[in-house]
């Protein structure tokens, strides 16, 4: 079971080479297959996640959540997807058409790009970049531009306000997000995600870096635009923020991308802090699924518990609390590493 997917990939390459393809060509085909797999995983995950989120929200509010369509309401999301696909596609006449149309597409592309470096099991990584964490953070921050494109292109004041908020928020929270990961990187001594997982063979980094984990979690919530930091959307204040003018499939793409980001960031959290694919008995890729879903459940738990915080509080929380705390964490970690090295560890 452990090498199930690796074996499939291996036999695919062997078969392709047997057909007379050069090794480069076979690699290319494999890459395409991997991309298709990622898109499939993302879509299935989103369908499950939307259902899960509704169920969790329902339970927390003493409701039952969706339960009419299919077993435990499982098909509700599928019905919604069909509804969205068949909806009329409206583009406001005053909108900047090119920007308006491309924003959701870029948003989902960026979201899917994150999966390239995530190790989804022992050796199950599409590309093992030696700057994996750096790649992840920089690509994730690109999605701000898409939100700004959506807000600007819609030519609507709520959209623009939502977009501006998202830019301000993302830039502020990018810093503590990167800083909180720095402690882990310092201990592991590498930016490559597979090295970081390997460094957690004996002890998970959540135990060595509890403060970093908490700050990472908070900053990631803000990065994901999830409650209680969902300022860009803020449906009670800005109708739907940057998404106000979007309908049908374009809107669905934004939704898809948000959940895709959620999965990616949760997978990153479990890779960086929860030991990645390490775990007893079960195959590594099952462990990463379990850990990712646990992290996502905590994200949902927070979203359905806390009310949205005010914009100025949000900003000052990042600059006055999170950044100093993460900086102090880096200082303590560095001092600790030096101290232990001096002791001869």
């Amino acid at each position: 079971m452990e090498h199930f997917f690796l074996n499939i990939a291996h036999s695919l390459i062997v078969w392709l080479m047997g057909l007379g393809l050069s090794s480069k060509g076979a690699d290319l085909v494999l890459l395409i297959v991997q991309w298709i797999c990622i898109v499939a995983i993302v879509t299935i995950n989103v369908i499950v996640l939307i259902w899960l989120e509704r169920k969790v929200a329902g339970f927390m509010q003493q409701r039952l959540g969706p339960n009419r369509l299919g077993p435990a309401g499982m098909f509700q999301t599928i019905a919604d997807a069909i509804k969205l696909l068949t909806k009329e596609d409206i583009i406001p006449s005053a909108a900047d058409r090119i920007i308006f149309r491309t924003a959701p597409i870029f948003f989902i592309i960026i979201a899917v790009m994150l999966y390239v470096v995530l190790p989804m099991g022992d050796g199950m990584q599409i590309v093992d970049l030696n700057v994996g964490v750096f790649y992840f953070i920089s690509v994730a921050s690109l999605s701000t531009i898409c939100l700004l494109m959506a807000g600007w292109g819609s030519n609507n004041k709520w959209s623009l306000l939502g977009a501006m908020r998202s830019v301000a928020q993302m830039i502020s929270y990018e810093i503590p997000l990167a800083f909180s990961l720095l402690g882990v990187i310092m201990i592991a001594g590498s930016l490559s995600l597979s090295d970081i997982v390997a460094a957690q063979n004996n002890i998970w980094f959540i135990i060595l870096q509890p403060v970093a984990f908490i700050t990472f979690f908070i900053a990631a919530t803000a990065e994901l635009n999830r409650g209680p930091f969902d300022m860009p959307e803020a449906e009670q204040e800005l109708t739907a923020g940057a998404y106000t003018e979007y309908t049908g499939m374009r809107w669905a793409l934004f939704f898809l991308a948000e959940y895709t980001n959620l999965v990616a960031v949760s997978a990153l959290a479990s890779t960086m802090f929860l030991g990645g694919w390490h775990g007893p008995w079960l195959p590594s890729w099952i462990w990463i699924i379990i850990k990712t879903y646990l992290v996502m459940l905590i994200f949902m738990w927070m979203k359905w518990t806390f009310p949205r915080i005010r914009m100025d509080h949000l900003m000052s929380f990042s600059w006055k609390v999170l950044i100093p705390v993460t900086l102090a964490n880096i200082l303590v970690t560095g001092a600790g590493i030096q101290f232990l090295a001096g002791m001869g560890w």
Binding site: V56, G58, F59, M60, Q61, Q62, R63, L64, W301, M302, W304, T305, F306
Partner: protein, 232 residues
């Protein structure tokens, strides 16, 4: 300490998430209604004395009735009674005004209709009915020219008492309802005699009354059951 509230909130939502849900799966599961719940306004026409107090009490002209003079008497009797429920405020004023408890609120809250004219509830009172009821209710001596009818009535009453289930079987939809109805009639002599009179006078009306009886009984039982569930 700062941040305590956050943990408390998380604890509460977690407790709610694993605790019991409060959703009632209507329509499979009926809500428990208090006694004073005001559902559909019901008119129990056998009791009406045509005093007109209800129409005077109603602030919205929901209620109206047609009446006629009983021959050889000062009394009036009802021809038809109309409740135009779409204007009703469910204010209870008519129920309070009625001296004979003719009007009351049922627990039936499913009042939507497909057609607008279905909202109006019209009670057409059958011609013989009021006098027949009067006979039964007050136990007056039968009038001479009604001896034949009286005989019929006696026979019907006897049949109802002896073998009620079979006698009322045709009036209701299924055996179970018939059983319920039989139970009601055996328990209450007044209802039994009224039913007997109705069955002779007007089969259709009798059916309606029978169904109403059964429904009321069922509802009462349901209510009883609901109360039990609640106590559990």
């Amino acid at each position: 300490m700062k941040g305590q509230g956050l943990l408390k909130g998380l604890y509460i939502t977690l407790k709610r998430a694993v605790g019991k849900d409060i959703t009632i799966q209507y329509p499979e599961q009926m809500p428990y209604l208090q006694d004073r719940f005001r559902g559909c306004l019901h008119f129990d026409y056998t009791k009406c004395i045509v005093c007109g107090l209800c129409t005077k009490a109603c602030p919205n002209n929901v209620l109206s009735y047609e009446s006629r003079q009983v021959e050889g008497s000062k009394k009036k009797e009802l021809v038809s009674y109309t409740i135009d429920l779409q204007y009703c405020l469910f204010c209870n004023l008519c129920v309070e005004a009625c001296p004979t408890n003719t009007l009351y609120f049922t627990h039936d809250f499913e009042l939507s209709r497909y057609q607008r004219d279905q909202i109006k509830i019209v009670y057409e009172i059958p011609k013989e009915e009021p006098s027949a009821v009067k006979v039964d209710l007050k136990g007056d001596a039968p009038e001479p020219d009604e001896t034949k009818k009286e005989k019929q009535l006696a026979a019907m009453t006897a049949a109802l008492q002896k073998n009620p289930q079979k006698t009322v079987r045709k009036m209701v939809e299924n055996d179970e309802d018939a059983e319920i109805l039989a139970g009601i009639l055996l328990e209450d002599e007044q209802k039994l005699s009224r039913m007997a009179a109705l069955m002779i006078a007007d089969r259709e009306k009798a059916k309606k009354v029978a169904v109403a009886f059964v429904n009321k009984e069922k509802k009462d039982r349901l209510k009883g059951g609901g109360a039990e569930d609640e106590s559990k």
